[in-house]
C-alpha cells in the first residue's frame, strides 16, 4: 500500500523514472495475486519493504536535495537502491519461472540477480544523465559519484544474489506453500 501511494505521488510529481520503478515493482508484487486469484498469494512482505525503502528515501530527500543531507546519504540511497533492484531481479526470476517457459537453476538465478542489478544501475544512470541533458538540470554529480554508486550496486547485487539463494532455501515449507512461492529448481510443468 505504501508503495502504491508513493508511486501515485511520484506520478503526480512527474518524477518519471521513480514512478516507472514504483510501477514495475508494484506489478511484480501484484502479479502473483492476479495470476492465482488469491489475495494472500503475494510475495513475502520483506521484499515489499525492501522495494519501498529507496522510494521513501528518494521522496524525503527530494524535498531538499542540496541542504542538510549528510555525507553518507548518497551511499545509503545507493545501497537501498541496489537491494531494491536485486529484489526486482529476484521477483522477476521467480515470476518468469512460475508463469513463463523460462527455467533457471539456482546458480543461474543467482548470477541473473547480480547481473540484473548491475545492468539496471547502468541503465538508470544513463537515463538520469539523458534526462539531465534534456531538462538542463544535471542531477547525478560527477564521475566519481556515479562510480561509487556503481560500486555499491555491484556489491549489493552480488550480496543479494547469494542472500536470496539462501533465503529461498531457508524459507519454511508452509510459508512457501502459503505464498505460492517456489525455489527456481523446484518448479515443474
Amino acid at each position: 500500500m505504501a508503495l502504491f501511494f508513493s508511486t501515485v505521488y511520484l506520478v503526480i510529481r512527474l518524477d518519471i523514472m521513480w514512478a516507472a520503478f514504483g510501477a514495475s515493482a508494484l506489478c511484480l508484487l501484484i502479479l502473483p495475486i492476479i495470476m492465482t486469484r488469491d489475495p494472500f498469494k503475494a510475495p513475502p512482505w520483506e521484499m515489499a519493504l525492501i522495494l519501498v525503502i529507496p522510494v521513501f528515501l528518494h521522496i524525503s530527500s527530494a524535498w531538499d536535495p542540496a541542504e542538510g543531507a549528510p555525507m553518507w546519504w548518497d551511499d545509503l540511497t545507493a545501497i537501498a537502491f541496489s537491494l531494491a533492484f536485486a529484489t526486482v531481479g529476484f521477483l522477476l526470476t521467480v515470476e518468469l519461472q512460475l508463469y513463463t517457459d523460462v527455467r533457471m537453476n539456482g546458480s543461474f538465478a543467482l548470477f541473473f540477480v547480480f547481473m540484473f542489478t548491475v545492468a539496471a544501475a547502468g541503465f538508470w544512470k544513463v537515463f538520469e544523465y539523458v534526462g539531465g541533458l534534456v531538462t538542463g538540470d544535471p542531477t547525478i554529480g560527477d564521475n566519481a559519484d556515479v562510480m561509487i554508486f556503481f560500486v555499491w550496486t555491484f556489491v549489493g547485487g552480488a550480496l543479494m544474489g547469494v542472500i536470496y539463494d539462501l533465503y529461498v532455501k531457508a524459507l519454511p515449507e508452509s510459508r512457501k506453500r502459503a505464498l505460492g512461492f517456489t525455489r527456481p529448481q523446484e518448479v515443474t510443468e
Binding site: M104, V118, A119, G122, Y129
Partner: protein, 211 residues
C-alpha cells in the same frame, strides 16, 4: 569472403606485432603490454580450435581481431587523444563482442543444461542486460585503475555516460541480430557450427587423462 577476412585478420595481427616491436624501440612502452596481451587474445580462437576442436564463426573471429587492432594500433598512434569519439568506437566494438560471446554462452547453456530453458525473447533481454553489466563492470575497472595508479582512463562523466550509452546500443544490436539468427536458423544449427559437442568431449578426455 572467408579467405579475405582471414587475410585481413592476419594483417591486423601483424600490425599489432609491429606495435609490440616498435614500442620498445621508440621508448613508448605504454602500449607494449596491451599489444602483447591483445595478440594472445586474438590467438585464443585458434587455441580453442586446436586443443578443444571448438570453432568460432569466422565473422566473430574477425570482429574480435578488429576490435583489438583498433584498440592497440589506434592507442599507439594516439587516436584516443586526437580522434574524437575513438574510445566510443572501440567501446561499442568490444561491448558488441562481449555481447556476442555472452550470446554463445547462453545459447549453449540453454541447450546443454537440462535444468535451464531460455526462450528467445528472454535471451534477447538477457543479452542486453549482460552487455550493460559488462559495460558497468568495465567502467568500474577503469575507475579502479585510475584511483590506484593515478592514470586517466576516464575523462569525464560525459565520456563514461556516452560509453555506457554505446554499450546499451551494442547490446541491443547483438540481441536483435541474435534473435533474428535464432529465428531463421535453428539453435541446433548454431550449436553444431560451433562444435561445442566436440569441445566438451575433448574436455572430458582431458579430465580423464589428468584424473
Amino acid at each position: 569472403m572467408k579467405k579475405r577476412l582471414k587475410i585481413i585478420s592476419r594483417v591486423m595481427q601483424l600490425s599489432m606485432l609491429g606495435v609490440a616491436i616498435a614500442g620498445p624501440l621508440t621508448g613508448n612502452m605504454t602500449w607494449l603490454l596491451a599489444a602483447l596481451f591483445s595478440l594472445f587474445i586474438s590467438e585464443v580462437p585458434s587455441i580453442l580450435r586446436r586443443d578443444f576442436r571448438m570453432v568460432l564463426p569466422i565473422g566473430l573471429n574477425f570482429w574480435l581481431v578488429l576490435a583489438l587492432f583498433l584498440h592497440v594500433v589506434g592507442g599507439y598512434s594516439g587516436f584516443y587523444d586526437n580522434v574524437a569519439g575513438w574510445d566510443h568506437l572501440t567501446h561499442a566494438m568490444t561491448s558488441s563482442l562481449m555481447a556476442a560471446l555472452g550470446f554463445i554462452v547462453v545459447v549453449s547453456v540453454d541447450k546443454y543444461m537440462d535444468s535451464i530453458r531460455l526462450p528467445p525473447a528472454f535471451l534477447a533481454v538477457f543479452i542486453v542486460m549482460f552487455t550493460m553489466a559488462i559495460g558497468v563492470s568495465w567502467e568500474l575497472m577503469e575507475y579502479a585503475v585510475d584511483v590506484l595508479t593515478g592514470s586517466h582512463l576516464q575523462y569525464s562523466l560525459d565520456d563514461t555516460m556516452i560509453d555506457l550509452f554505446f554499450d546499451s546500443f551494442a547490446g541491443l544490436a547483438v540481441a536483435a541480430a541474435g534473435s533474428y539468427y535464432l529465428r531463421t536458423k535453428s539453435p541446433d544449427h548454431f550449436i553444431e557450427a560451433l562444435n561445442i559437442e566436440g569441445a566438451t568431449a575433448s574436455l572430458t578426455d582431458m579430465r580423464k587423462k589428468l584424473g
